[in-house]
Structures are given as C-alpha cells and as structure tokens.
Symmetry: C2
C-alpha cells in the first residue's frame, strides 16, 4: 500500500485520534490546567511511539514538557525537523458563543469544531499522520525529528533555550512548521513572512485599596481614568501609533513584494463579512492586506479595573490593568519596542498615580527566502494537495519560533500551514476543515517525497 | 431601668446580634445571593417582632423584600420614620486584601470588621437597638415606623414606587436615616447634603466575536481602544468634565456654606495618608473638601474587555465595557446627565465601531434645612452622645432615598450617620467602631427623647 492509499484507508482512525487529542484541555497559560497540558504531552509521546518513531522522550522544562521524537532510518536522505505545539489558547466564553463544548470536538458541515482544531493540534497531527503513512508504507524518503512544545500560547519561554542548547541534536536540512494558515481552501497560499510580538501589561495604581466613589470621587485620580488617558494617547486620530521611535526601524516595502501581495488582497467588503465590523480601520496609505503584512501594530488585548460584575458598584478602583501587544515587522526588536512603550507610559503618567509596564513575552518576526529550493518544492506540493498553485503571502500573526529555529539550526524553514483565514483560532468556535486535514496530508506526503528525491 | 442603663447592660447581647446579622451575605446586586438577601430580611422581621414592634411585615417586590414595621402606641406623640438597608456591597477581593472573612465579623482593636459593618447593618441595628431600649424601659417618647430595604446597593428600584404608593401609611413627623458618616469619632459631624448619582454602562462593540490580534490587528478598530479614546475625552487635562452641558445647572456655592464647610477641611496630607495616593487630584479652583461637597464628578467604576486572566492571550476583543457614574449636586438631574453622556458618547463614537450607553440606576441629590428644629435637636443629641458639638457637612456620597422620602412624605429629614470617614465602606476591611455603635445608641436615645418632648 503506498502512503496515499494508507491515508485513504485510515481516514476514520485518524479522525478518531485527532478527536482524542482535542479532548485534552491543554491550556498552557492557565496554571490550573497544568495537569491537562502534561496529559497532552504524554498522549503525544505514546502516539509517536505507536507510529514507529525510534526515540521518543518528554524533555522536562521549568514548566511544560517538550515532546521530542526522531526516526533516522534513512541514512543519506535529508533530515526534516517538524515543529508543532500541543498547547491551546484559553476558552473564556462569558456570553456562551461556543456552539459546542470546546473540548468535545464535533464534525459539523465538514468542519471539526474544537479549541486547538487548527491551532495547532489539527495541523500537528497532519504532520504526524503523514510520517505514519510514510513509515507504514515502507517508503520513507527522509529522516525526521519532531519538536512539539506545550508553551506556544504562553510565550515558548522554555523552548528557546532548549533549541539553543540542542542545536546539534536538532540539526536538520529543512525545518517544517505547520502552525499557519492559507487564505482559504480554494485559494491555497504559503506564508513566507510573519510578524513578531511584544506582549506587555500596563498597570496604573492610585489608592492602596478600592475606595467609595462618592467619598473620594473628584479628589483622587481614578487609576482607570488615568490608564485610559495614557492608552488613548498611543494612537493618533488616523490610527498611527504615536509612541516615539515606534516606526524607526520599519522598512519601506519593495514594489515586488507589494505586487506579489496584491494577488491576495483583502477587500473591505470581505473584512466586514468575516468579522462583522461596520467599517475597516487602520493606518492611512496602506491597503488592508498591506497593513496586516507589512505594518506593526499596538493593540489592547485586555482591560480590567474595578467592578466588572453584574449591576453597579460605586467603587473608585485602586488599580487598572491593560494587556497590550505590539505586532512587529522586519528590523523591529521586541525588547527595544518594550522599552519605547515603557518610556512612553512613564512620561505620560501624571504625578497623581503610579504606573508599571511589564513584558510578558516576545518573539521575533521572520521572513523566509521565496527562492529557496524548499519553498519551490512546497509550491508543487500544495498544487498537488489542493489542486491549485498557491500564492505567497506575509501574515499578520506571530510564530516566533520560526526565527529562532532559523537562526539556531541555520536551515531553511517552510511554513506548511493548512488552516483557513476564517478558522477563528483564539476565538470561539475554532474549526479545522476536514478537507484541509485531507489536503494537508496529501501536500505533506508529496512535499517529503520531493525533499527526499533531492536528498 | 432607664433606656441608657438598658443599653449599658445589654452591650454584649447587642453585639452578638449585630454579628449574627453581619454573617448573612446579603449582596443585593448579585443574583446568586438572592436567597441570602431574603434570609437577612427574614432575620430582621423576626428581630423586630422580638423587640416588641406591633406590626411587622415583609413587603414583597419584584426583587428583594422591604421590611416594614411599626409601633404606634404613643398617641399624640410625634411619629418618626426610620430608614435603613439590610443589603450590602459585593466583596470582590482578587488580591486577598480582606484581613478576615468579610462575612465572619471580628472585633479587632475596638472595631467590628465585616462587609456591611457600617453600611448599613451596624447603623440600622443602632436604630433598632435604641427603639428596643426605649420600649423595654417603658419610656417610649415617640411612635415609630421602620422601612428597611434590601436594594440600596443596587439602585432601590422597588423602594421608590413603594414610598410613592404608601405615602399615607408611611406618614411621619420626622424622617431619620442612618446611612451616612461623621468625619471621625473625635470630630462628630452631621450631614446636611448629599450628592445624587447617575450610574451608567458604556459598551463599545466591534467584530461579532473576539478575533486573533495578529490576523486582524491593524485593520479592525479595537473596541477597547475605541472605548479608552472615548473615555479619555470626558475630562480635560485639569480634571474638569468635558461633556457639554455637564455643569450647566450647578449652582455657585454661597459664602456662608463655604465658611461652614471650611470648619471641616480635608488637607491634602490627610487625603494622602487615608488613601495612599501620591497626590491629590481634581478640579482647579476648589479645595479638596469643596470638590467633595459641592462639585459633580464623572468616575470610571469599572473597565473590562478581552483577556483579563493570567498571562497573555492575543485577542482583539469583540467589545469593551465601562461602568461610569456621575455624582450630582443641586439642580442637576440624573436623567438629563445620562442624556448628555449618551449624546457625548454617540458623537465621539467613530464609524468603525458601535456604542451603547445604558442607565443602570440613578438617585437625586439632597440638601436638608440646617435651621429646622429637628436638625437643632440632632445637634444636641450628638453633643450628648459624642461629647462634642458636631459640625454640619455636605458629603460626596449618595443616599438617593433621602430626596425621595423628603418629597413623598413632605417631612423633615435628619441624617443620623455614625460611621467614620475611614470605615472603608464598599472596599475591603469595612469596619464600624464599637465606640460609634455605643455613641450612636446614646445619640439616638437622646434625639428621640428631644423629639418626643416637642410632640
């Protein structure tokens, strides 16, 4: 049985296994889910042993283990390092927007609905199942190493040192990362650029504890008010970030890149229907798809202060907190950006309150060489898997490990993403289309065959 | 035994009863505490029957019952209507600032610590215990009616219609309200003015659900950002409210009132040590105590949007909510102020998001006639109870029922508050000094004797 036939005949089993994997609520950012995160790692370990990987281990870290696995039974053939993550985003759903339990996956209208369906359990399992098919069919064209972490959604703090300290052991000819998306299954695309990130907390403090707003309102600077006044100064009326120095290292974009990107525009009409917003927004002088690909942002991810429950509480809050993240583009440095924001907040904090800015996590942007032989192989593989020649795109999201792996292993990266733009990763009703799972399997099989032929 | 001796000999029993009352977590604003609120009402009903009130009933409302009680056994003597409330503020304490369980009262350094200790269970029970002492000693100088509600902390929605519809039944010669404070036990004071309130929610909505901040950041207007931009526009740099028309009905304050109030200043030093803020804040042109007494405010009581948990979640929130309240001074109207804020928010909402402003509850300001015979009796009673002639003050807080009772019953109001400025009502470690309980009892007894003599 060739690997394509193997995949066809094991369709139902693969889906059962994915559902099993998705049922584990491995939310890495919440400490109460630490045991679930470990359970997901152990599930993966057993699974990788089951498909025939010759060495599998849980690498313990200060927090969640890294699953490492290898099969090096094709001497002389090229080695592929496959990266994925088994942790998922939290599911806060106060309004009950999830139509089904996020950790009880269901198949509805050809889509698998579950937290982690596309980000990144579905995509990670696509890679594993492709390797299983190649191993089972006895036609393994490559050597393979898996690095599957459990902290991607909470900053990958322990992965970076692991990669740096194990560069020799992880050495590979190609790095494959399945943690991005395509425009849609009808418009396959390969990501060649990603934004970096600096994720911060801004806290403003006033009185030592919450006060009665009648007894002190008007004579004590309300920290919530001071915070909104600081935050409001971070953008101008047009939506440009006003933090001094923020754009200093941002490159002009070449005409060629603009032209390539113009092949996959995001019309305002489509943005409105995808998101439900009344109108698009953003920096003047750039098309919507250009803002996402080429421009850095400063975004409020969360706000909390005082009374947030039902009804009224007449409190003058002791403090106010904002979670703020910047998406970064080539040549911006996350630590430098953090410093600029910290200095800006400091300068804008009035003497009537105090403030602090903390860097929670960060990651570098990445741009992959379009002309590499691996990227050209990816083009062919996608065309085989999805029936259409893909376009090259730069994405607004961040997969900081891309840049870190590139630098540590000095190998070309291919971002083999199979999600779709509307998969709603990080939001409610996250999904992964069955057709993407299947097309992704065919693409991956062909890609490894092409890589192997070149070995 | 005269009533003063009765109070002396029943000191411990009174304290036990107060502790029993304080143990019931009657948080009216949280629907999960509805049964506790009812339990507090039933406790009060039994208690009022126990002290000899001749008619006691729970008046059912759409939400929490009103406890009504009367004793009309002194024909010809004046009738006093006593108002209190048995519900309490919520206790959200994410940082564990409460030094003891808010619903397990403890006596520490001469203070009773518990949620509701001063606001308003301690003060309500002071009134009840004074009436008990007068009844038990056979020296009852007045007729008495109690109206004790369970929705003061959530807007008194059902009390207003009850008062309006029962004006005849509630008819009284004097209205006594024990729900305010004194400067301190060493500087007794009687409140003659209170601010009104308009409590609102401002909600800004953007996308129909939370989005991935990398995939849409920079092209969709972040509702949290839009909200902070709107809120930041509500004050100028000096701390004046910028909502057009906000100050239009605010009266100039007379030189006499300024002079009376200057007897109880709030020096910046004292404000800093009471609250822990680095510096005072507020409208230029007014002393700190004047801002609290005479000036309206617009205050953020709560903020919530997006990810507010531990760590990072790279979400672009679907919506952002602020709880905002205005403290109002004479001639400002809560509905008019709500309309001004709503129009301001509407005018400041960009076309890239939508917004809504909702009025959660409101209450009128009140000013009591300083020269009334009842206020003069209160002066004497305080001097007897606390050993010092009290000053008259206007307070920053709101007890909207004051104005409502004044208007419905056409009777003079006396605000017999026994709390202290630093009792931390609405915050953590709310307390009520034992000496205030005891001084309050003596003051109340003497006040009813004085009122009775005049009957």
């Amino acid at each position: 049985m060739n690997p394509y036939e193997y995949v066809e005949t094991h369709r139902d089993a693969f889906l059962d296994e994915l559902f099993e994997f998705l049922r584990i609520p491995s939310i890495s950012t919440l400490s109460e889910h630490a045991a679930d995160v470990r359970r997901a790692a152990e599930w993966l370990k057993a699974h990788l042993e089951g498909i025939g990987m010759t060495h599998v281990e849980l690498v313990e870290t200060a927090r969640h283990p890294i699953v490492y696995a290898e099969w090096l039974g094709a001497p002389g053939a090229p080695t592929v390092l496959i990266y994925g993550h088994y942790d998922v985003q939290p599911v806060d759903d106060p309004e009950g927007q999830w139509q089904s339990d996020p950790f009880e996956p269901v198949l509805r209208d050809g889509n698998i609905y579950a937290r982690g369906a596309t980000d990144d359990k579905g995509q990670t399992l696509t890679q594993i199942k492709a390797i299983q098919a190649l191993l089972a069919s006895g036609q393994m064209p490559i050597n393979v190493k898996f690095v599957i972490e459990g902290e991607e959604e909470s900053g990958s703090d322990n992965l970076y040192p692991f990669v740096d300290q194990n560069a020799e052991r992880l050495a590979a000819d190609v790095i494959v990362i399945s943690d991005t998306g395509m425009k849609s299954i009808d418009r396959p695309s390969v990501v060649y650029g990603l934004r970096g990130i600096a994720y911060m907390e801004i806290e403003v403090r006033g009185p030592r504890q919450d006060l009665h707003s009648g007894m002190y309102g008007g004579v004590v600077h309300n920290p919530a008010q001071a915070l909104v006044e600081i935050l409001a100064k971070m953008h101008d009326e047009q939506g440009r970030v006003t933090v001094p120095g923020f754009y200093d290292r941002v490159d002009e974009v070449s005409a060629e890149e603009r032209a390539e990107l113009a092949k996959t525009p995001l019309p305002e009409e489509q943005l409105r229907s995808e998101t439900g917003v009344p109108a698009a927004w953003g920096e003047p002088g750039f098309a919507i798809h250009e803002r996402l690909a080429f421009r850095p942002t400063l975004e409020i991810n969360g706000l909390v202060s005082g009374w947030t429950g039902e009804g009224a509480k007449t409190v003058l809050p002791a403090k106010a907190l904002a979670k703020v993240s910047c998406r970064l583009v080539p040549r911006q440095d996350p630590h430098e950006i953090f410093g600029l924001v910290r200095d800006f907040v400091r300068a804008q904090t009035p003497p009537t309150v105090t403030s602090e800015v903390r860097l929670l996590h960060h990651g570098m942007w990445a741009v992959v060489d379009l002309k590499s032989r691996e990227m050209q192989a990816a083009l062919q593989a996608y065309e085989f898997g999805f029936g259409k020649r893909p376009t090259f795109v730069r994405e607004g999201g961040s997969v900081p490990i891309v840049g870190a792996l590139q630098r540590a292993l000095q190998a070309p990266v291919v971002l083999m993403g199979f999600g779709q733009q509307d998969d709603n990763l990080h939001g409610p009703n996250e999904k992964f289309a069955l057709a993407c799972f299947e097309g992704g399997l065919r693409t991956t099989l062909r890609f490894y065959e092409l890589i192997g032929q070149r070995g």
